[in-house]
Amino acid sequence: MSVGPNSRRSDKYTPRSVPVSADGTRLTTSAMIASLDAEGRSTVAAPFGNALVELAKTRDDIVGLTADLSKYTDLHVFAKAYPDRFYQMGMAEQVMISAAAGLAREGFTPYATTYAVFASRRAYDFVCMAIAEENLPVRIVCALPGLTTGYGPSHQATDDLAIMRAMPNLTVIDPCDATEIAQATHAIADHPGPVYMRLLRGNVPDVLGQYGYKFELGKAKTIRDGSDVLFVSTGFMTMRALDAAARLEKDNVSAAVLHVPTIKPLDVATIVAAASKGGRLVVTAENHSITGGLGEAVGAALMRAGVNVPFRQIALPDEFLDAGALPTLHAQYGITADAVAGAVKGWLK
């Protein structure tokens, strides 16, 4: 049946049966929770909320705001610990962002939370003019980055890095795991300008701790060395890159992982130095559209520096993505560790 020329799905009138996974379990939409904890890793509960509570013990200027998403951004932990420093602004992202600007003008350091789609799309003009143009120290901390929900495009912020990267003065961070979220929450407290930070919430995997990792604002760090491939990755795709590297190792492919949590300002010196070393295939990996995110930023930086190396991108397609269960969607869009390893092997042939 025709559904009109503008529908992005042409099969909506086809009846469906209940989908069952290979092991016989039903796949449900992993939506609001958006945890990546089903991957057999150790996890940490609410790393952002707990870190903010810790930070607030010594910083009276810290206040928290949310637009009806404290539970889903882990800010409820802070709200419980410091009820008088918590502002429930209701479902009104524009006034939340503006009010955060006003509080910053009066000397406070606001951490404002919502979903990444709402901060980057709905409240853009307010982030831009009320906060960034004046370089105010507001921290905008946003859950559901990229493809971390099965709700479809209304909740999937596959474009937020592109949107926020284009904003002058704004520092943009995509942390990998619980360790990094906690460290970054502290590290951005003293930054004089505004910060946009992507957030994994709930039970968040802990990966980087075992590598002795320490987050530094604006710094890319080598997590693993390797001679054939250089992953330049950000956000939870660094976990996937590390897993892919382990899989590749079994096939005698040696892959390094350079983790780039700060998307802007980009640590160009470290990236250029790493890409210049030893003729490796450079593969960027990000939980974001292929348009305007880490990959394009790295590609442009390498070209500007005159580094001519084989270059590929692991990223989400420039499309409105499907709804469904996260494991299915990650496989479908090629951001699982298996998919990453497979793509790299294909490129090396």
């Binding site: 009104a92 524009q94 006034v95 503006s98 006003g102 509080l103 009066e106 000397g107």
Partner: protein
Amino acid sequence: MTTDAAPSKSNVSLARRAWNIRRYALRMGEVQGQGYIGQALGIADVLAVSYFHALKFRPKEPEWEGRDRFCLSIGHYAIALYSAMIEAGILPESELETYGMDDSRMPMSGMAAYTPGMEITGGSLGHGLGIAVGMALGLKRKKNPAFVYNMLSDGELGEGSTWEAVMSAVQWKLDNLIAIVDFNDQQADGKTTAALCAEPLGIKWEAFGWHVQEVDGNDLPAVKRAFDTARAIKEPVPRVIICKTKMCKGVPFLEEREITHFVRVEADEWAKAIAHLDTEMPQ
């Protein structure tokens, strides 16, 4: 003006303050040959009451912590606010002729980064009241008794974000927040009431929970009383003063024009406008 606001001129009537503001605005308009002179002439009386009756400030210390905050969300009204701030001694009259020019501290649209005394960057309409909400929350956190004023326009009420802020101010019981709406029924394409009808305005704000006053914004004693009431009432609610103003007030041949949002004035008409004003100089 309070004792803390060292006056640049003493014993000057509000009428004379408003007249001076109009005259500075006309001189600035002449620099560019066109501009938002209609708004400046219309709102001059409200600004005179704001800066020389209501606001607490120190002209030589624009960031003094005890000041009342005056947030201009309608960035294009900057010409009017610069005039008021020149009259108040915050900005030097000698820079008046730099208005809108390269490297001026008085750009066409008001920005906090450019101008002492300009609290926020307006221009993208619908931002001011939300920022004012945050400042009012911040002042309460600091137990600072200062007021936050936000001057917005009738056209700006079309921006949905303004109404988010209207609701938020009530939710947080912001009795330190005073909104001033300039209702001149003019926006870029014509009449505001013919575009996205703000009327009936007073009962809208009242329904949201604000203390509402509607006054003739060109009636100085009425505006003065309204500011007094807005500051004095004890109810834990934000306050709004809706000021009905006449675009181009004080210059009859400009008042008569139909489209007054962005007035084009012929070179010889500036002198004519100032000459007319000079015939009506108050004491």
